[in-house]
């Protein structure tokens, strides 16, 4: 059918606006008289503000107001009011609430002026005196202060244990017991966080916010400022990347709303690049893997434990240690997870939170075990392949990981690998081949959608979800067009607007399965209505016809039995004198059905690296990533999601490291020159394979969600390849050249 779009590599519908500079981001909305706010950040990590003097700033002509804890009205008095959809357990940070400093670069003032330049200049004139308290930001020195990583949080599973690890490990023939570590990372979307609050004459607020969930932002503003939701509209048509940074309402939203409501004027607040390092990061973990196996490679016991960072006010928890029992057939698994409260801002979900770091350690350990067993690393994985989620004792809703291993290995040429480390040399380049597995959740969340078909045959589908570059607009339009058999060009998708039907934050790779399924269902409701109307037309061949008897394609309703019997959709609208058909649908995941299954995406990642034997520089030269992600709705946008994940994996393995200066308790490399990420020159050949299997337990569209799985496993594959190249096991990310060369700290400081 010409109107079959699902799975096709359609160009993204927002592509033209983006390449032409017409897509507008949160800070790009303007109106006459708009004021500019600049945030002043604290210079200390812990203590109290003794004195804050804004008089020099206020003397300047054009500076409208300076907000500090001293003149900010008492807002919602309950911590609970500051809770957002993605908040971890604890008491959320309340900006400008008191003189207390809880983390370095805490926002302590907002300077509002008529121009950005003036606000910036004035922000340097605020005199602040502190009573400094001793702070602690160092995880490794504070493990004795750890507490159990347990609690209620969307998407979080409390670590569980199955079988008897101690006994099985004791008896195992081959054992490893190793520690892994990685640095902190910051999301750093290219667009800084910004909120433009347009103050309406009647006190209504129109807020352009950088967010992954307009309803989350609206909820926060409503609760904190005590404004009815009806008076707040949050819009976010385009988001310049987020990767988790915009899951929670960040403090620029509070600041801009505070100023707008107090001054009764429109206000914009955009953070600076350094301030992008001030509100949440991927937390450091210290992980321990103990794995016991029999001599033939059968896994007998796995212990995975982790210590991680959190703040003093919230308990940030993520799934770091929960993966081994889902990934391998092992009867004795022990998972332990503890977090240490430190004087820093609460860590924040960052693409594949917990999975990216936990699976790095697990899959590195599996490689080490394979070497100890003198077994091919891929063979070890296949030997312990599981058809059920051992942590729950449930089968998988779908799983093509075995085919991912096979197709990935074949594409990569894995069978040509000489397992001996350092054996594949090219001149001065040590060549290494490594592999790893990835795993992530396949979630479906509640979502609503609306569809309006008008007399001219045009369809609009909408939901208050987000498109952070992922391609949500495009897949919504594809699903809608195919379901109703309409030309793609006649379908418009709307999102990023709090006045649209409910959707949760765009996170957890759940949007395609959630909003996509809601769009499909609402279009089916329109289809049923159309068929009913078609049946009412005089001498209609569709009188009393059932939806399963007909086909919606090529702009027509036609009989499945006899294609020559059909009616144009536009004709139905015309003959029945319908201006529009409007339907709504609320998707509630079928938990009864879904909970009987383990629901996951998987990947098999193969990496080639070249390590300069004299300089220690590591270059990734090839990646093959085979993905078990259910039905792929759009091969172009999906490919880009995995590509982005792979690039993030390269970046995580070799480059990214937010460096905390513990003397100050501050991330010091807070700009894009000092915080290294993978760039054009780092790009290897990247081959992506989708091994599709429609998963109708996770979603009616068959998709499992692919925003995060592309990243998981990549860093381990690269680390394993570095070992194969050099014979040196680096158990700490990023693998910088000093580590690749095996230099000790003193030697490393020389370079």
């Amino acid at each position: 059918m010409a109107t079959d779009y699902i799975g096709k590599p359609k160009n993204r519908v927002d592509g033209r606006d983006k390449v032409a500079g017409k897509a507008k981001y949160a800070a790009e909305f303007h109106e006459p008289g708009l004021l500019h706010g600049v945030v002043v950040s604290s210079a200390i990590a812990k203590g109290r503000i003794k004195v804050i003097d804004a008089s020099k700033a206020l003397e300047l002509d054009g500076v409208v107001e300076v907000f500090t804890h001293e003149n900010t009205p008492s807002l919602a008095w309950m911590d609970l009011s500051y809770k957002d959809m993605d908040a971890p357990p604890g008491d959320p940070f309340r900006p400008l609430h008191s003189d207390k400093i809880q983390f370095n670069m805490q926002p302590v003032a907002l300077v509002v002026a008529e121009t950005l330049e003036l606000a910036k200049y004035a922000s340097h004139l605020i005199d602040i005196g502190y009573d400094v308290d001793g702070h602690n930001t160092k995880l490794v020195d504070s493990l004795d202060q750890s507490e159990k990583g347990k609690g209620l949080r969307a998407g979080f599973e409390n670590p569980t244990s199955v079988g008897d690890f101690e006994d099985a490990f004791e008896k195992a023939e081959v054992k490893i017991d190793l520690e892994y570590f990685h640095g902190a990372e910051h999301h750093n979307p290219m667009e800084m966080h910004a909120s433009t609050v347009i103050y309406g004459e009647d006190g209504n607020l129109t807020i352009y916010d950088k967010t992954q969930g307009v309803l989350n932002s609206r909820h926060y503003v409503s609760m904190v400022f005590g404004i009815s939701k009806k008076k707040i509209r949050v819009l976010s048509p385009y988001v310049g990347g987020a990767f988790g940074s915009a899951l929670r309402p960040q403090y620029q939203l509070f600041m801009a709303t505070l100023a707008a409501t107090q001054l009764k004027k429109s206000v914009k607040v955009e953070l600076t690049r350094p301030q992008m390092f001030s509100f949440g990061h991927r937390p450091i973990t210290i992980q321990n893997l103990k794995i016991g196996a029999s001599a033939d490679g059968t896994l007998k016991a796995i212990h995975h434990s982790a210590f991680s960072e959190t703040s003093q006010f919230e308990k940030y928890i993520e799934n770091v240690v929960n993966w081994s029992a889902k990934l391998y057939k092992c009867e004795n698994v022990e998972e332990k997870y503890r977090v240490v409260p430190l004087d820093m801002y609460t860590p924040l979900d960052m693409r594949a939170p917990g999975g990216a770091t936990g699976v790095y350690a697990l899959e590195s350990a599996m490689d080490e075990l394979a070497y100890k067993l003198k077994m091919d690393p891929l063979e070890l994985r296949l030997k312990n392949y599981t058809e059920e989620d051992k942590s729950k004792g449930k089968p998988f809703s779908s799983k093509t990981l075995r085919e991912c291993y096979q197709q990935g290995a074949e594409k990569f040429g894995w069978e040509k690998r000489n397992p001996e480390p350092g054996s594949m040399k090219e001149g001065h380049q040590l060549v290494g081949w490594g592999m790893a597995t990835g795993i992530w959740d396949a979630l479906q969340m509640p979502a609503r959608a609306k569809a309006i078909l008008t007399a001219d045959g045009k369809l609009e589908v909408s939901s208050a979800t987000a498109d952070i570059g992922t391609g949500t607009y495009t897949i919504m339009a594809q699903i809608a067009a195919e379901t109703l058999g309409l030309p793609f060009e006649d379908v418009t998708a709307k999102l990023g607007d709090s006045s649209l039907p409910f959707a949760l934050i765009e996170g957890g790779s759940a949007t395609a399965a959630s909003v996509g399924s809601a769009v499909k269902s609402v279009c089916l409701k329109v289809a049923k209505k159309l068929l009913k109307e078609a049946g009412k037309i005089k001498n209609s061949p569709f009188k009393d016809a059932k939806i399963e008897d007909v086909l919606f394609a090529d702009g027509k309703i036609s009989s499945r039995k006899d294609a020559s019997i059909y009616i144009e959709i536009s004709e139905v609208m015309k003959k029945r004198q319908l201006d529009e058909i409007k339907k709504k649908y609320a998707l509630i995941p079928n938990m009864l059905k879904q909970s009987r299954y383990g629901r996951n995406t998987h990947s098999a990642v193969f990496a080639e690296v070249k390590v300069d034997e004299d300089l220690g520089t590591v270059k990734v030269t090839k990646i093959v990533s085979a993905i078990d992600g259910g039905k792929i709705l759009n091969h172009k946008t999906a490919h880009s999601q995995i590509l982005g994940g792979v690039v993030w994996g390269i970046s995580m393995a070799l480059e990214e490291d937010s460096f905390m200066d513990h003397n100050f308790g501050r991330f010091i490399n807070h700009d894009l020159a000092e915080y290294h990420i993978a760039v054009n020159a780092d790009m290897p050949d990247i081959d992506i394979i989708f091994v599709e299997e429609e998963d109708h337990i996770v979603s009616s569209v068959g998709a499992k969600g692919i925003g995060e799985i592309g990243l998981v496993g990549v860093a381990a594959a690269i680390a394993n390849a570095v070992y194969h190249a050099t014979g040196r096991r680096v158990r700490e990310l990023p693998i910088t050249l000093d580590k690749a060369m095996g230099l000790n700290t003193a030697e490393a400081e020389q370079i």
Binding site: A20, P189, M190, M192, G240, G241, R273, D671, I677
Partner: protein
């Protein structure tokens, strides 16, 4: 101190009254309403703000507007033809799905246009080298290289 400054942008002369030390990016975005070039760091570290100066791509966030008066400036908005047809680089970026979130795209497109004006048939390595100042966080780089290749042969 504000001063009258005349800029040649996208084939037209514009008079603005600004402090001559104002970054060109600010003037383009705030005075001329050209939002194609983006602010990503303000330190010439990310490339999101690139424009063409007499055909050569360079950042605009650290360039004082008074130093941009004796050249032809082209922004993203100036690439499409009068009928609104996209430049071949823009078109190739759409077709090769080199756009994700779209925020860094201005710089990547401008740097690619600048490259193709100097080298109409660049190799992959030459494209990577030419884009060395452009950071993309969505990780779309390989598709950008394909898009530039496609534009070079169209």
């Amino acid at each position: 101190m504000k001063k009258k400054i005349i800029l040649k942008v996208n084939g037209k002369e514009h008079e603005v009254n600004v402090d001559p030390a104002t970054p060109l990016l600010y003037v383009l975005r705030n005075n001329l309403g050209l939002k194609g070039p983006k602010f990503g760091c303000g330190l010439s570290q990310c490339g999101a703000c690139m424009v063409l100066y007499d055909g050569k791509a360079n950042p605009s966030c650290l360039k004082a507007v008074e130093n941009a008066t004796d050249m032809e400036i082209t922004t993203l908005e100036g690439l499409a033809d009068d009928n609104g047809n996209l430049h071949k680089v823009q078109q190739a970026f759409v077709e090769e799905q080199a756009a994700q979130c779209g925020y860094c795209l201005n710089g990547l497109v401008m740097a690619s246009v600048g490259l193709l004006q100097e080298n109409s048939n660049p190799s992959d390595e030459e494209i990577q080298a030419a884009l060395y100042r452009n950071i993309c966080r969505c990780g779309v780089h390989p598709r950008v290289i394909r898009a530039v290749k496609k534009a070079s042969t169209s």
